[in-house]
């Protein structure tokens, strides 16, 4: 089945591993400066806002708002059978932090709608936060 061909994420990178460790416990975590609270996403070690090097993985509720999306009608890579939709959401409790998620088919979407994450395994069992419209 094509799903098995989906590439899993690297989960051992120095800067991003904490995201996947949290996801393995079905939690959404945003790397955050321990000194000033600045969200550091894409995750990184140094806070550009206050100059601090102390960071933590702040667990936030897996709720978000739909920022934009696209429905892809062509096969671009094995494992992702068209049509499928990529959503880009803004995490509610981490302003400015945006993430993308996969939805099968051509769901009816509207910018600004409420979204929530479900943690779903990809081919190697790694849990990915996937974003769905909140009914």
């Amino acid at each position: 089945m094509s799903y098995a061909e989906r590439p899993p994420p690297v989960t051992t990178d120095y800067d991003t591993a904490g995201f996947w460790a949290a996801a393995s416990e079905k939690k959404l975590a945003v790397r955050t400066c321990s000194d000033c609270g600045q969200s550091l996403h894409m995750p990184k070690a140094y806070c550009h806002s206050c100059g601090g090097w102390e960071t933590e993985w702040k667990v936030v509720p897996p709720t978000a708002t739909l920022y934009t999306w696209t429905t892809t009608e062509r096969e671009l890579r094995a494992g992702f059978k068209p049509p499928y939709t990529i959503v880009c959401v803004e995490v509610d409790e981490a302003p400015g932090v945006r993430m993308v998620g996969y939805l099968p088919g051509r769901p009816h979407l509207k910018v600004g709608m409420a979204m929530h994450a479900r943690f779903e395994p990809t081919a190697d069992g790694t849990l990915l936060p996937q974003w769905y419209p909140t009914p």
Partner: protein, 398 residues
């Protein structure tokens, strides 16, 4: 910013331009294509290969400076460098050439881009297409995108287009006018891949959706081919075979809230619709001592129609959010206030990753374009968005 002592304004020119046939399958190596385009540019300038003492290239090019120097049998190489990322390279290559010339590190610099973009590595399938196993890490941040099915630059631009439509009411037809205009220019250009294929707005609207709201006709072509330029001092340019075209100014720039990686992280910017071109425009116009009202013709990087539309706003040809109505107004056609992409651009001439835009800018200012803008004296040429990029203003020498 105070301009003065270190200004490069009008101090260098593009003395020669060269290109190959643009096709879907060249049947040749990229080194062979790079060599042909380079020889054409050197001959166009009335120079010999041994006049070249510098080479600048794109970071995505598989042809390295020493590969090309060997192929051309250059014996006087004193400078080389590369620029990027990818489609952002061309303006940066010219900027480096100017830097090398004005600092005395080279006299005559060859800049090139060569790719088998259709028969070889197809950029549209994403940078990680050949990777197997887990994706991402090492600062690429691809782990946040590719495992979710976001693999292609087209999907990112589609999401930006969707957002532009939501925020500003931009219509598919607005994008269509850009595609149709580029096609009209290609229909006049015998070297354009789409030379023989006309397209109406209805044809555009009937074009199949690839990644909504972008259709096939919103996407650039995939091309095998190469382009090259010879950059030299204004004095030497005045002595070469063709009418001199001066580089009025060049600028590279990032955006406030710059993001790492290639394309996907752009969506994490405070305002993803704000592109580097907003900042580049300020720097470029200040360095040139010119403004949008002074631009006679523009070659705007067009990996997608939406990419062109946002640049109308960023370079000050219309207000923010008004890119759609501007595209539909007729301003961008021949006889309009800002004819664009007069060779057909990436959308309809061929995708040489932004290098053909500089070639066409030079041809316009020599009066040699296949869609010549009467009396054109200045041309804005931009390179690929959206990460961090560059642009230049060319002007006719006297």
């Amino acid at each position: 910013m105070k301009q003065g002592e270190y200004s490069h304004q009008d101090k260098c020119g593009i003395a020669g331009v060269g290109w190959t046939k643009f096709s879907k399958n060249s049947g040749r190596s990229v080194l062979s294509l790079a060599t042909e385009a380079s020889l054409n540019a050197i001959r166009d300038a009335g120079l010999q290969p041994d006049d070249i003492d510098g080479i600048v290239r794109c970071d995505f090019d598989v042809v390295a400076h020493n590969d090309l120097a060997n192929s051309l049998n250059l014996s006087n190489l004193t400078y080389w460098g590369y620029s990027g990322a990818g489609g952002a390279a061309p303006a940066g290559m010219v900027a480096q050439a100017i830097g090398a010339i004005l600092s005395g590190q080279a006299k005559t610099v060859l800049a090139f881009r060569s790719l088998n973009g259709r028969s070889g590595f197809r950029l549209g399938k994403g940078r990680t297409q050949a990777s197997s196993g887990a994706i991402g890490g090492n600062g690429s941040y691809e782990e946040f995108f590719v495992p979710f099915g976001m693999v292609s630059p087209g999907q990112v631009w589609a999401m930006l287009a969707q957002r532009h439509m939501h925020q500003f009411g931009t219509k598919p037809e607005d994008l269509g006018h850009i595609a149709v205009t580029s096609r009209e220019r290609a229909n006049s250009n015998p070297n354009a891949q789409m030379h023989g294929r006309t397209m109406t707005l209805d044809d555009y609207l009937a074009s199949p959706m690839i990644s909504s709201p972008l259709r096939l006709a919103d996407y650039c072509l995939e091309t095998d081919g190469a382009c090259a330029l010879v950059v030299t001092s204004a004095e030497r340019a005045a002595d070469t075979a063709k009418p001199p075209v001066l580089i009025r100014a060049v600028a590279q720039g990032a955006v406030t809230g710059i993001q790492p990686g290639m394309v996907g992280p752009v969506l994490s910017r405070p305002d993803p619709m704000t592109l580097p071109s907003v900042n580049i425009a300020k720097t470029l116009y200040a360095r040139a001592g010119l403004g949008p009202q002074d631009i006679d013709v523009a070659q705007l990087y067009d990996c997608f129609t939406i990419t062109v539309l946002v640049q109308f706003e960023d370079y000050g040809f219309c207000a923010r959010g008004e890119g759609g109505p501007f595209a539909a107004s007729g301003a961008i056609k021949m006889g309009g206030s800002l004819p664009i992409n007069t060779s057909g651009g990436n959308l309809s001439e061929g995708y040489i990753h932004g290098m053909s835009h500089i070639v066409e800018g030079v041809l316009q200012l020599r009066g040699e374009s296949t869609s010549q803008v009467e009396g054109a004296e200045t041309c804005l040429v931009t390179s690929g968005l959206p990460v961090a990029t560059g642009a230049m203003i060319l002007r006719r020498g006297s």
